[in-house]
Amino acid sequence: MVPEPQDSVIRRLENRLSEEPQRIAEAKKNGAKVIGYFCPYVPEEIILAAGMIPIRLAFGGELEPATAGEEFLKSYSCPYARCCLGYKLEGKNEYFNMLDAICVAQTCENMKRVSEYYEKYLGIPVFSIGMPHTHEASRSRPQALEYFKKELELFRQRLGDFAGKPIKGSAIRNSIKLSNSIREKLRLLFEYPREPSSPIEWRDAIRITQAGFVLEHNDYLSELDNLTQELEKKPPSGVKDNRVRLMITGSVLAVGDHKILDIVNESGGNIVADAVCTGSMFARKNVTIFGIMGNPIDALAERYLYNIPCPCMTDLDKRLSRIAKIARDYNVSGIIYYNLKYCDSWRAEFPIIKNYLNDKLKVPSLLLESEYSSSDVGVIKTKAEAFIEMLRGV
């Protein structure tokens, strides 16, 4: 049961979410442009600095748009990627209907195809950002960072052309400050579930994070301020939580993709931490102060390239150490490894990550693989129940 204080903020956020399409429509009437993006390698600070509205199009979890996406992608493609096309084709998601352009970081093969179909068939301008896939936390490949800086500079120029005016460094610095403040507040939210009697559940933290994918950023920051103030005043509940503490990692956990979370919850599990790109990873790591004082593009490149890499990037060591650190810090008993079917990059790493966590922390992992249909609910529930039961017995 979610405690009362943040309930009020979540309600306010949800009200805001229901009003947001109308607000964006008004802004568009006044000349604002809406830029959608999918993967968190796109620095939204540059979009904000252009006076445009960034929207992270992380919607999924529904069968109909995934099926609609099969007009372009095969049924054996990632269902999230199919949704990225399907929502636009169906015309039922207001955010997709309001797009003026999309920006796509060239990450996995599925997302590359999504950008190509948008460009050729959907009449939407596409800004592509070349991504180095081979880079390491040890910075042994400085050329990757140099290249990425130049790609971001090119993006800035092209977006400026689209906006009809150059994007000033001062505007980027201001948007870095705003985005950093948001990230700081979100990180605080994700800190709470470390404690057994947290006044906020991880699941609320991720809902709040995902609300920020579409909400106007200044308003969103105000709401986050309110929420953190309320949480600070809230004493620990003192109620003993008997649920099994779990961490979730794996494929994109899209806005609207509740199936696995519901099943884990119903099976007696309590997800308290994550390593997913739509959760705490989105808020991890600020742009350094050098971005505010010095060249903002250099600082953005540093932040976005060296955040925790998606497994379509080759830096496995950094991914392993980060996942292990979270599992340790949050004192979890098990890992839910969520794999969207046909998400090859995450799927291939499962045996490696599972063995690593087992060897280093004695924390077992459960692979739950799914598409956006209800046909596998029974099987997943059985697996989740058995896993959580096993963890209770440990």
Binding site: L73, Y76, K120, G130, T134, E146, D344, A348
Partner: protein, 404 residues
């Protein structure tokens, strides 16, 4: 060594009169023993990852996905590699190429032991990149990825700078693991040898462009497949290609077509994902077609590497423009001239279930080919050998009969 004698290829039609092809196949199948005898380091690489610098380091390039799959799954008809890959924790939803490679490697059944893994990451194939990570970790083998940056003409200057630095780091890594420094002279010689092979392939393609095609689809496909790693011995492969070209020249001089090709066939260009279903090549001819081109390995021979300039500069520019490195629409447009040269009446696009590479772009390929070349297009989908042979055979029959 004849392919007819393998359990997995029984029932397929081969051109038994083409003697140079039999010798080429023996050369290909004997490669693991030959390589082992040289004592050279074996570097596994992805199917479309270039190889010239591996040979410049006096090592052997091994296209592990193609060779393990083709010899073990396709020729020998082994069906146990897929379940073994799954038992090792891999997804059964991967492509048959990845699963056969993983099954063979993770269970120690690979034809050729690999010393190190290195392939281009980024735009070539996510499954290969991830599989290399898994295999290297399982075998505690050295692993080095190198990046081909996203193809965008606006970014050419800085992307090429990046690519050259990646190549230089790759050369350093090769020196470390092979004990052989990649000198400019070594690279120049290796590029020259690769160019000879690229010219061989271009010459073989001229025979496919003729009104009477002297080489059958199945033989052509297997010849082209060996470009994947220059068959682990570029000089040897060049010799065999020249012998094949000589034999094709004699046939062409007599205006002879390969056995199985009808007198006025429908000219079919095949593109897309490399298929393990070899019967499709026979089916093209069985129903009145002739294969006049195939782009499965085209990115490795689409053009020669400029030998007049610095080898590093030339290599980087050539890699950057490899068709497989381009976004799908650009890729297919970059191939249009090469396809047109072969004068096709129709195009077939092959997708492999489990592969995200071409299958994801199949719709784009189909539409661009129809728009630009105005020829009919058939999309086919295959998986492991013999799993949907009958369906594809019917599709090809219906397509060719409709056009013919």
């Amino acid at each position: 060594m004849k392919l007819e004698s393998f359990s997995g290829t029984a029932g397929l039609r081969f051109d038994s009169d083409l003697k140079s092809f039999d010798k080429l196949i023996s050369f290909y199948l004997n490669a693991p023993q030959r390589v082992a005898a040289t004592g050279k380091k074996v570097i596994a690489k992805g199917p479309l990852s270039p190889v010239d610098f591996i040979y410049a380091a006096n090592a052997v390039a091994y296209d592990i996905a193609t060779n393990e799959s083709m010899v073990q799954s396709v020729f020998n008809g082994r069906t146990d590699l897929r379940p073994e890959a799954a038992a090792a924790g891999m997804s059964p939803d991967f492509s048959p190429w990845s699963l056969a490679m993983l099954g063979a490697t993770l269970t120690g059944k690979a034809l050729l032991p690999v010393d190190a893994y290195s392939t281009a990451s980024s735009n070539l194939d996510d499954q290969i990149t991830k599989s290399f990570q898994v295999m290297a970790q399982a075998g505690s083998s050295p692993l080095h990825f190198w990046e081909i940056p996203f193809y965008n003409p606006e970014a050419e200057t800085f992307a090429l700078t990046y690519l050259k630095k990646e190549l230089q780091q790759l050369f350093d890594w090769l020196a470390l693991y092979t004990g052989n420094k990649v000198t400019e002279g070594d690279l120049r010689r290796s590029i020259h040898l690769g160019n000879l092979l690229r010219q061989d392939m271009a010459e073989i393609n001229t025979y496919l462009a003729m009104p009477k095609v002297p080489i059958a689809a199945l033989e052509y496909y297997l010849v082209q497949m060996m470009m994947g790693d220059y068959a682990q011995d570029p000089e040897g492969l060049h010799t065999h290609y020249r012998n094949l070209i000589d034999e094709l020249r004699i046939r062409a001089g007599k205006e002879e077509t390969a056995p199985g090709i009808s007198s006025s066939p429908v000219r079919v260009y095949l593109m897309g994902d490399e298929s393990q279903e070899l019967c499709i090549f026979n089916s093209i001819e069985n129903y009145g077609g002739v294969m006049v081109g195939c782009d499965f390995r085209l990115p490795l021979y689409y053009d020669v590497i400029d030998e007049a300039k610095s080898p590093l500069d030339s290599l980087a520019q050539w890699i950057w423009r490899m068709p497989c490195n381009m976004p799908s629409a650009k890729r297919v447009r970059s191939e249009l001239d090469l396809i047109s040269k072969q004068r096709p009446d129709a195009v077939m696009i092959s997708s492999v279930v489990g592969s995200r590479y071409i299958s994801g772009a199949e719709r784009m390929f189909r539409d661009v080919i129809k728009e630009e070349l105005g020829v009919p297009v058939l999309s086919i989908e295959t998986t492991f050998p013999n799993e949907n042979a009958e369906k594809v055979d019917y599709q090809i029959q219906a397509f060719l009969e409709t056009i013919g």
